[in-house]
Amino acid sequence: MTNIDSALPREAAPQPLRWRELWLKEDWWAIWLGLGIVLVAYVFFANGASIKWLAVTPAKWSTLSQLGAHFASNYLRYVAQFIAWLAVFTVALTALGYKAREFIPSFVVLYLISVLIFALGQWDKANTYNLEPPLVALVVGLALSNVFGLPRWLDAGFRVEFYIKTGIVLLGATLPFTLIVWAGPVAILQASIISVITFLAIYYAGVKLGLDRRLAATLGAGGAVCGVSAAIAIAGAVGAKKDDAPIAITVVIVWAIAMIFVLPFAAQALHLHAGVGGAWIGTSEFADAAGFAAAQTYGDLASHGAVAGTSDQAVFAYTLMKVVGRDVWIGIWAFVLAIVATTRWERTETGHKPEAAQIWWRFPKFVIGFLVASLIVTAVTAGYGLSAFNKEVVPNLVGPIKDLRTWAFIFCFLSIGLTTRFRELARAGAKPFLAFSVGAVINVIVGLLLSAIVFAAHWENLAR
């Protein structure tokens, strides 16, 4: 019996998921939750009401007494919101295999810390001290998990990917579909250029350094497409060795977390417009969740007047570049690399004929929810003029959905820190780290040239 045999529990023979994917994959649960919230919000709006009572967020404050007064007069709204989140997340995560008795106390901790971080971000001096909520959430989470340590069972509530996917579906409701159609092709063009260059740079640097081709491809996809998710997708498609994926995960995490702190402030130092900065972050961050933390931070800088443009421009440009431009192509990358692995690289004792159907199997389904949410809100608000839209739709429909999205993102950013235990990551070694770094540096430079020079006018005019 090998060490894998002894390390992993025995399972019943797994059956193909097929339609069961609709309730056994978190992408679909993010769609059900996100679209469910959008539809409920619309039903209220269509009947002359709004979900804004439930979508409460901390108000701007300058003294602790103001903050205290806000919570004293709104505590029932926070309790109701907490119960609503807890109910829908418990249903979803229980279906995904988590134990409610572990998830519930974990989410209590997550929500309470999130309230504190959100409130801190509303302090009128927060910007002076760079207390942007995404960065504060990340630092607090990293400190709790790496300095103090947390029980492993608490991870049941720290579901980074589930929260970010739910937030992205909600984000779709705040992004006009016409904008996706207008800006999407440029995002796809820019992202395709940078993805191919980054993959080839990491792959050939890895091969030159003597890495196995499967590991080099796994690292390359992690840098070029969608971080850890791309790394495990490609590892499976090419039949990587069991240690390859953990190595790629370690390298991607270290780079992605460093970039959360570097990219927003580098963009600010370069005086990049919010839309341009968002596009650069979308081109050069490696994982969706980490990138949203960086893009939201840059958006916060814009909302405080530290950079030109608006918060929405930074987040929208990032989303178009990362989600539409890069994420959706992971299935094609997997299919092509599976063909290369089975026809050009060494023949192995295991394998299978590459199937084009994996383009669909591996498709990040939450993107469907993002597009449908955008279509729904665009369609139901099509009859409003600009003035009526700003007076009625924004405060009663789009605004509350945006506030709930912000909560989902804070849950995600905090969960990144709470689940990243540096001591437990696999040892990557110098060669994989060096190979990835070659591609990351090229990516950052080419991404900046494309965002700030070649397509600068496009990103500056986004959602203006």
Partner: protein, 71 residues
């Protein structure tokens, strides 16, 4: 055409049905440190991939080999 290890395996069954194959999401997240920090074993992109204990590889559930053993 000469029969290869792969085609022999395809006659017998795929990894999803093999005793050496593990693709439970919780077990994969435990086996891959950091996977849940910026991704998840429950996402669509992973499909049904899992670990083969016999060959120590991370494989598609539809892969196969000559050493297939039904559960």
């Amino acid at each position: 055409m000469a029969e290869t290890a792969i085609t022999k395996g395809q006659r017998r069954g795929v990894c999803a049905q093999c005793m050496h194959f593990r693709n439970d999401p919780a077990a994969l997240e435990a086996a891959f440190p950091g996977l849940a920090s910026l991704s998840s074993a429950r996402g669509s992109v992973r499909a049904d991939d899992g670990l083969c204990a016999r060959h120590e590889r991370y494989l598609s559930a539809r892969a196969s080999c000559a050493e297939f053993h039904a559960r």
